[in-house]
Amino acid sequence: METEYSQFNILNKQTTKCGIEKITVDKCCFKKFISHLKNSAEFEANILYSVMACDTSDCIELNYNLFSEKLNRYLIITVLTDRNNPVCDTVTDLYKSAAFDEREIFDMFGVFFEGHKNLTRLLMPNSSVGNPLLKDYNFQKERSVHYETDL
């Protein structure tokens, strides 16, 4: 597996406690890597379970949980984005289910997905300020009420 994927600039590879492979890929080639996983016969990743973001102290970590329905294999692809200017490629053209996930991450973490057709806030009102799930979100400061005109 390692020889085949060497072209994709894999940064780190580990197995988590519950036995799931976790591959950290460089930001520039992660989309190529995912589309390779989706189409290759070795790992037919036909379901994108969910996209999870996590705010570590120095970067925002995006976890793409892939699942192969035929081979019953589970894989996590991790991408690290810059915390000050979080930008990432969208995967909505590969998996349609990513649309809401990416909107949610844009809402909660402020990660900007390039190529997403409708990147607006999903859960919070459009007029709200700040990204609540970031660790340095200030409750008191940004808690003021903003009402939308369009219900």
């Binding site: 406690k17 379970y49 999870m52 996590c54 949980n65 909660m108 859960l123 609540p132 799930l133």
Partner: protein
């Protein structure tokens, strides 16, 4: 007065609409009775449950968990408990596992009954609603006897359950099983053999295999498209590998088959409950891992994922711990979020009156999607 024809009419269903039990908005562009485009807006019930985890300890977060979805509280409890158990290497005694499985299956039946009742009442027929809700109430009363609460049961704890099931409760469940197997047939007659119901739902809202996979649908919605994916079978948790049951599957992918599969699933769940109650009556043992002190959970920094098959699809709970007594991040994968995404595609170029038939059949709980 607006002109009636010529232009498209924009109609907003929701956020508080008679058709949807939960706050979701569907902004629909209509041309006559035909839907041109749909946009779904959610988040009206976003309570910040993921952020809440960061300020609570592992035990304090436990009662919040089952408020994500009011129809399948046990499933969410199980997902969270098993994630924490994996994190801290806690093992669950066999008896506790059987109790958990049995209660989860009871919960699955009650959730499906709610779905059937509400779906049929949305379509305009009330007899089935009353029938299904009377049955659901029986289950909820059994759960109330066991756990002390009707819907928000805080019964699971890390390493087992809160207290043991007594013989009285088990007998009640056995009685319920014997009466329910007859009644579910009656319900099937009322719903599946109903000509008007068939006329409304057959061949409507068809989800193909590829579409279902690409939208990441799970549960009965995916199985009705002909893909056999059930976490209980492919990656058994608790004691599901020791139990005998089948996963009903269909390949037409329309609203009718989604409804049919849920009735079949109830019958399979009944089988599981019977096996569990047989085991629980015979055996005795610990209902709880006594080594665990739930007040002092300090896992090392790690990432765990647990999957549970809920009535609506696959729930997964991801916990990232950083060595303190509070989780650093908890992420919930909720199946309803993905069911909502597929709505614009299913509703396009359909009649306005098909909205209730399609939205209802997907079994969407909006508060689950919003978190």
């Amino acid at each position: 007065m607006k002109p009636i024809c010529d232009s498209d009419m924009i109609i907003n269903i929701g956020p508080q609409s008679p058709a949807l039990y939960g706050s979701m908005k569907l902004a629909i562009k209509l041309n006559g009775e035909i839907i041109k485009s749909v946009e779904s807006v959610i988040g009206y019930n976003h309570r910040g449950i993921e952020k809440l985890a960061e300020s609570l300890t592992y035990l304090q977060y436990l009662p919040v968990v089952n408020k994500i979805d009011y129809l399948s509280g046990f499933m969410y409890m199980e997902a969270y408990c098993s994630a924490v158990e994996k994190l801290c290497d806690i093992n669950v005694p066999e008896r506790a596992q059987y109790i958990r499985v049995m209660l989860m299956e009871l919960n699955r039946i009650s959730s499906h009954l709610f779905y059937l009742g509400v779906y049929l009442s949305d379509l305009g027929s009330k007899a089935q609603f009353y029938f299904a809700f009377t049955l659901r109430d029986e289950i909820l009363h059994i759960l109330q006897d066991i756990c002390g609460q009707k819907i928000m049961q805080n019964y699971f704890v890390f390493g087992g359950v809160k207290h043991d099931l007594d013989l009285n409760a088990l007998n009640k469940i056995c009685d319920f099983c014997s009466s329910f197997s007859q009644k579910v047939k009656e319900l099937e007659n009322l719903i599946i053999d109903n000509p008007a119901f068939k006329a409304r739902t057959k061949g409507l809202g068809i989800i193909t295999k590829n579409k279902a996979l690409s939208y990441s649908l799970t549960g009965a919605n995916l199985r009705s498209a002909g893909i056999n994916l059930d976490i209980r079978k492919i990656k058994p948790y608790l004691v599901y590998d020791a139990l005998e049951f089948q996963v009903p599957i269909d390949d037409s992918g329309d609203c009718f088959s989604r409804c049919l599969l849920r009735i079949r699933e109830m019958i399979e769940s009944l089988k599981i409950i019977r096996q569990c109650s047989r085991f629980l009556i015979k055996s005795s043992g610990e209902y709880k891992n006594n080594d665990v002190n739930p007040l002092q959970i300090h896992p090392q920094s790690n990432t765990v994922i647990s999957h549970v098959e809920s009535p609506r699809g696959i729930i997964s709970c991801t916990i990232i711990s950083d060595g303190s007594d509070k989780p650093s991040r908890v992420k919930w994968r909720t199946p309803s979020l993905y069911s909502i995404q597929i709505l614009p595609e299913l509703l396009k170029n359909r009649y306005y009156s098909d909205i209730t038939a399609i939205v209802g059949s997907l079994d969407i709980v909006v508060s689950e999607a919003d978190r």
